[in-house]
């Protein structure tokens, strides 16, 4: 482990100031051998992933909009628009779980088609019977979401729904990459600022 020693700039008998102690503590925590290179690699990797995912998202969304336009063409414009949305109490079926990862990064996990009756903390291993129940819940929640736009749903609208679900998955990955490269960026930025002092 690299050792750092604080040498006060004036008055050999004086206690180091609080600010100087904090600066030294930051240096001791941060400048481990290889840590800076690891941070740079992490930053570059997550930034590269973020940019790749953004391209993928553009492609997925393009397909989704096309499918939505096709559905609107077959059903009619009045059948697929936001005027059909009512303002009755309605919890989201697709939500996110946020955890803290690696001491300062937010990590997002997509939870798709969670029924309002489902136990949020159920992490136990599932039997095939319970897995079938999950499929039933997912199909039911998907159908409920589509039912806003009528009973007879064209295949293109179902396809659009699946495309937007894929876009959501990509977006959650992008959020995690964003969290990762911002964390690395702040660490590196802090080191640059401390080096200038």
């Amino acid at each position: 482990m690299e050792e750092r020693h604080f040498i006060p700039e004036s008055g050999g008998d004086q206690e180091p100031s609080q600010e100087a102690v904090e600066v030294e503590n930051r240096r001791e925590v941060r400048l481990q051998p290889g840590a800076e290179e690891k941070l740079v690699l992490q930053f570059m990797d997550s930034l590269n992933s973020y940019l790749s995912l953004s391209h993928s998202l553009s492609s997925t969304l393009g397909q989704a909009w096309m499918e939505l336009a096709s559905a609107r063409h077959s059903m009619g414009t009045a059948r697929i628009n936001t005027s059909l949305l009512d303002l009755k109490f309605h919890p989201a079926s697709t939500t996110l779980k946020i955890t803290e990862y690696d001491d300062a990064k937010a990590w997002f996990v997509l939870r798709k088609w969670v029924s309002s009756e489902e136990d949020e903390d159920s992490n136990s291993t599932k039997s095939s019977e319970l897995a079938d129940d999950d499929d039933v819940v997912v199909r039911r929640e998907r159908a409920k979401s589509l039912s806003v736009f009528g009973i007879l749903i064209p295949p293109k609208l179902r396809a659009a729904q699946l495309s937007f679900e894929r876009a959501l998955e990509t977006l959650v990955e992008m959020a995690n990459m964003r969290s990762s490269f911002l964390y690395s960026f702040h660490q590196l930025h802090q080191e640059v600022e401390d080096t200038k002092e």
Partner: protein, 130 residues
């Protein structure tokens, strides 16, 4: 580590949207729409009649609500309130700028990418660290 941002851990957080009608409808199909008892939604549909003030108010609301984890905003809408988006720097909710049908995504305008771009600027390279 000093001044560490607090990450609020949550089991069931929402995705908010500030985007055009087709994008919002699509993501509502994917199940992210939420309307609470006070009839407050987690989305704002932006059209030709939406004012910049409405967009600003929605952005401020979504970024201060504790039940929202990600805010999706069409990049062309984000450009209307760029100063507000660029000044946002909390880890949660995460702000993601997305393309729209008529306005493709441009990484050069992305707020978070602009923020980290400086690491590759001549100024940082010539800072004399090495």
């Amino acid at each position: 580590m000093a001044n560490r941002a607090q990450i609020p851990t949550k089991n069931s957080a929402l995705i908010a949207m500030i985007a055009d009608e087709d994008t919002v409808v699509g993501f509502l199909l994917a199940g992210v729409g939420n309307i609470d008892i006070r009839r407050k939604t987690n989305y704002l549909i932006v059209d030709s009649k939406t004012t910049v003030k409405q967009i600003e108010d929605a952005f401020k609301e979504f970024t201060t609500r504790e039940d929202i984890a990600i805010v999706l905003i069409s990049q062309y809408v984000a450009n209307m309130i760029r100063f507000l988006v660029d000044s946002y720097n909390k880890p949660v909710p995460a702000i993601l700028e997305i393309p729209s049908k008529d306005h493709p995504y441009d990484p050069a305008h992305d707020s978070v990418l602009s923020r980290v771009k400086y690491l590759f600027s001549a100024e940082s390279v010539a800072s004399g660290r090495r």
